[in-house]
């Protein structure tokens, strides 16, 4: 009871304060609000992104360009957050050896979900769907410059395809295709690709993640195309990590860290 009273007070104060701030906002959808057009006469950051991105990077998807280039440092740590979450879940849940034998969840025999008939229908459907899903995931990663998409989105879809394997058959089947060692390595490699692109710029005596200089290595005409290509490389790194960690999170959570049988 006391917590409910306290919660109500806290929530009302928070909401009231936020609404008090809202009363001072520019109107919803105003293209000339400070966030959209800046304060004063100078061009705001978001206007700069809209007008200059294509000139700077030759990437028509502004969101991808801002994500992977202008604010690439943020995105690298975003990937690190994902990686840290995966490792954290590992560190918390994973059990091995004798303890694992004790705790492994026995698959429920004869239950309606795992009955043979359903298994055939579900299994066949998934066998048809999964390659399509994976193709689509690769498209989302590779085409992130031109259409909505990118490393995170594609990585999640690719991870989901492996989760689908685990759900339609069982976790062991998915782990045979995508083992623990593989996904841990893949997660590390993904971040190393990202940070490696940045480090390469440093070796060429520019700042971290200053892709423009990579034209010397990538043999592109002009720094703009080098930025565009590097963004693709970076997105692939992100996709690696996200795929691996999404599957790792599912595998550990669904089997309570035993990595056998699963749900």
């Amino acid at each position: 009871m006391l917590t409910k009273v306290f919660a109500t007070i806290a929530v009302v104060i928070t909401g009231g304060l936020l609404l008090y701030g809202v009363s001072d906002f520019p109107a919803f959808g105003d293209p000339h609000s400070p966030a959209n057009a800046g304060v004063g006469n100078e061009e705001s950051i978001s206007q700069y992104f809209i007008t200059q991105t294509y000139k700077d990077t030759k990437v028509p998807n502004i969101v991808t360009a801002v994500l992977a280039d202008y604010r690439g440092y943020d995105t690298m740590f975003e990937t690190v957050v994902i990686f840290a979450a995966g490792i954290a879940i590992f560190a918390i849940l994973r059990v091995t050896g004798n303890e694992a034998e004790k705790k492994s969840i026995k698959p429920p025999l004869d239950s309606s979900i795992n009955g043979d008939h359903q298994r055939i229908i579900v299994g066949t459907t998934c066998r048809i769907v999964i390659p399509v899903v994976q193709m689509f995931a690769l498209y989302v990663v590779a085409h992130g410059h031109h259409s909505p998409g990118g490393g995170f989105q594609g990585g999640v879809i690719l991870g989901a395809s492996f989760i689908l394997v685990a759900m339609s058959e069982d976790l062991n089947a998915a782990l045979r295709r995508f083992s623990e060692k593989t996904y841990l390595t893949l997660a590390c490699v993904g971040i190393l690709i990202y940070a490696g692109f940045g480090l390469m710029c440093q070796f060429l005596e520019r700042n971290f993640l200053d892709y423009g200089i990579l034209q010397k290595v990538l043999f592109t005409d002009g720094p703009e195309m080098a930025r565009s290509h590097s963004m693709l490389g970076v997105e692939v790194g992100v996709a690696f990590t996200v795929t691996a960690i999404m599957f790792a999170i599912y595998a550990n959570l669904s089997s309570r860290g035993v990595l056998k049988n699963g749900l």
Binding site: V80, I87, L184
Partner: protein, 527 residues
């Protein structure tokens, strides 16, 4: 090379973590050398950066080379305010790595590499928080450090630690989300995410929009402040801290307790000085009185709660709550010469070392004596004389006895309080010192007079169900001997730094005050 320093500080532990992820999981012997090398690189780079800052000037680093217009890319900045904090983080993580030798692996070797990955990523987060000059990037790095610390707390096999970690997740998420909301309100009003850029626009007084005076800006400040207060466990919001730091593995508590709260205090000061500007915070808002009173309550409550504890670590946790009150109060004293702020910044450095020293001590006695409660420390001075030196110096610093740094931080805080006219803060500081004296002299008395080693041994078994994991691993051959060099070295090193920081307090404070002498820092670097 020298101009790449800001990136190197953050990247070295990141690459270290990835190398452990690739090779350390297969061969555990890889872990420690990688940890040491990467942290040593970071520490060296921090020291070099500090030299550069104080000899040449502020280091600005634009990731991706996106320099103009300000704010399109991510801007890293090392100036007088954060260079010393960076060095202290480097020193603390270095010392804790020594302490972690043979400590993590003792029980569950399978998880050793994961521990080190999380440990290095935590370092990445802490260095990154300190170094960044972008409000949103700060949020991302806060999340890197928070996620890793949740895991470091939950990793121990302690039931209560798991529950504490869950509460920490909830509170930490609320804190980070509040911070994010505040940044959103600021972005809505200013259209910028760069700290200097936001400050420049807040100071701008155009005829159609006075951003600094708007309601949304005030709300943004409140939410950023409350978010950071949750992260630093300022008084009414401290609920998550004591259990989380008490029931986690000793190595984790040794790194989290000295650094997480201090870095949050640094973030608060950074936001006050760089984003909003002290003029805006103290003059336009004028809440100094209110916050100082909150800090007074925090100090008194923390001290009183510490007095009521029987467990060593929990007592230290409540002392942290009190120390956070010192720093928040000091930062908000609003005295004209910024002595309060100076004291708060000095106390960040001092308290990091003091907390490290005492938590290392708590870790050592938990391991060697199975001692979790104060009463378990009987006969400590005879059994473990070298460890006792660490305890004595850490305790004297907490009490505030010269020449330890604890005395001088209190000295500067009191000077600021007197000049700002906050006598209640002076009283709170003195009372807290008195309480600390009572606390630690009680420990000294038990440790000096109670020389019943056999009974101490029995005690450890009484309390083995009191849930701290190391207690179970300790057998009678280990009990009662002096700790190993890998535990003693960081303890004595931190004790030595406590004294050095005190002896050279004039020099350190001169470096800190560069921030205030250089008015550029207070009124935006650009435009």
């Amino acid at each position: 090379m020298i101009d790449q320093i800001p990136a190197i500080i953050v990247l070295a532990p990141l690459f270290g973590a990835m190398i452990i992820g690739l090779f350390g999981i297969r061969d555990h012997r890889v872990c420690l050398p990688v940890v040491f090398i990467s942290l040593l690189v970071s520490l060296g780079a921090s020291v070099a950066a500090a030299q550069q800052v104080f000899n040449v000037g502020t280091i600005n680093y634009f990731v991706g080379g996106w320099e103009k217009p300000l704010g399109i890319g991510i801007h890293l900045k090392i100036d007088a305010l954060n260079s010393l904090v960076l060095v202290v983080i480097g020193v603390v993580v270095m010392l804790v790595s020594f302490f972690s030798i043979r400590r993590v692996g003792e029980r569950d070797t399978e998880k050793t590499p994961y521990f080190y990955i999380l440990y290095l990523l935590l370092c990445v987060g802490l260095f990154g928080i300190t170094i960044t000059s972008d409000a949103f990037n700060l949020f991302v790095l806060i999340e890197v450090s928070s996620l890793t610390s949740y895991a470091l707390i939950a990793m121990g096999s302690n039931k209560r630690g798991t529950v504490a970690a869950f509460n920490y997740v909830i509170m930490g998420t609320v804190g980070a989300s509040f911070y994010l909301l505040g940044v959103g309100y600021l972005y809505l009003k200013t259209g910028s995410l760069n700290m200097d850029g936001i400050h420049a626009i807040l100071m701008l007084e155009t005829n159609d929009a006075n951003v600094g005076a708007s309601k949304a800006t005030t709300v943004a400040f409140i939410f950023i402040l409350v978010g950071i207060w949750i992260k630093m466990a300022f008084f009414p919001l401290y609920g998550w801290l004591p259990n989380a730091y008490t029931y986690c593995p000793s190595t984790s508590s040794c790194i989290l307790a000295p650094l997480m709260t201090k870095v949050s205090v640094y973030v608060m000061i950074r936001v006050m000085i760089t984003v909003f500007g002290l003029d805006w915070v103290f003059v336009e808002l004028g809440w100094s009185q209110l916050v100082v009173w909150l800090a007074v309550i925090a100090i008194l409550a923390g001290s009183m709660l510490a007095l009521a504890q029987r467990e060593i670590k929990k007592m230290l946790c409540y002392l942290i709550v009190a120390e956070v009150g010192y720093m928040v109060g000091g930062a908000w004293l609003a005295d004209p010469d910024h002595w309060g702020m100076t004291g708060a910044l000095y106390h960040i450095l001092a308290d990091a070392m003091m907390t490290l020293c005492l938590f290392l001590f708590a870790g050592i006695v938990a391991k060697r004596l199975g001692a979790f409660e104060i009463s378990d420390l009987q006969g400590l001075f005879k059994k473990m004389p070298i460890t006792s030196i660490g305890l004595v110096i850490g305790a004297l610093a907490m009490i505030g006895v010269p020449p330890t740094c604890g005395f001088f931080s209190k000295f500067y805080l009191i000077r600021g309080a007197i000049e700002g006219g906050h006598w209640e803060f002076v009283a709170a500081l003195l009372i807290s010192s008195l309480v600390n004296a009572v606390l630690f002299f009680r420990i000294f008395e038990i440790a000096y007079f109670g020389n019943k080693p056999a009974e101490g041994h029995d005690h450890s078994h009484d309390h083995s169900d009191d849930s701290i994991e190391e207690g179970k691993g300790s057998d009678s051959t280990v009990l009662g001997r002096e700790a190993s060099w890998s535990s003693l070295f960081p303890l004595l090193a931190s004790a030595a730094i406590i004294i050095l920081l005190g002896v050279f307090n004039g020099e350190v404070v001169a470096l800190i005050r560069v921030t205030f002498e250089n008015s550029n820092h207070l009124s935006g670097l650009f435009r």
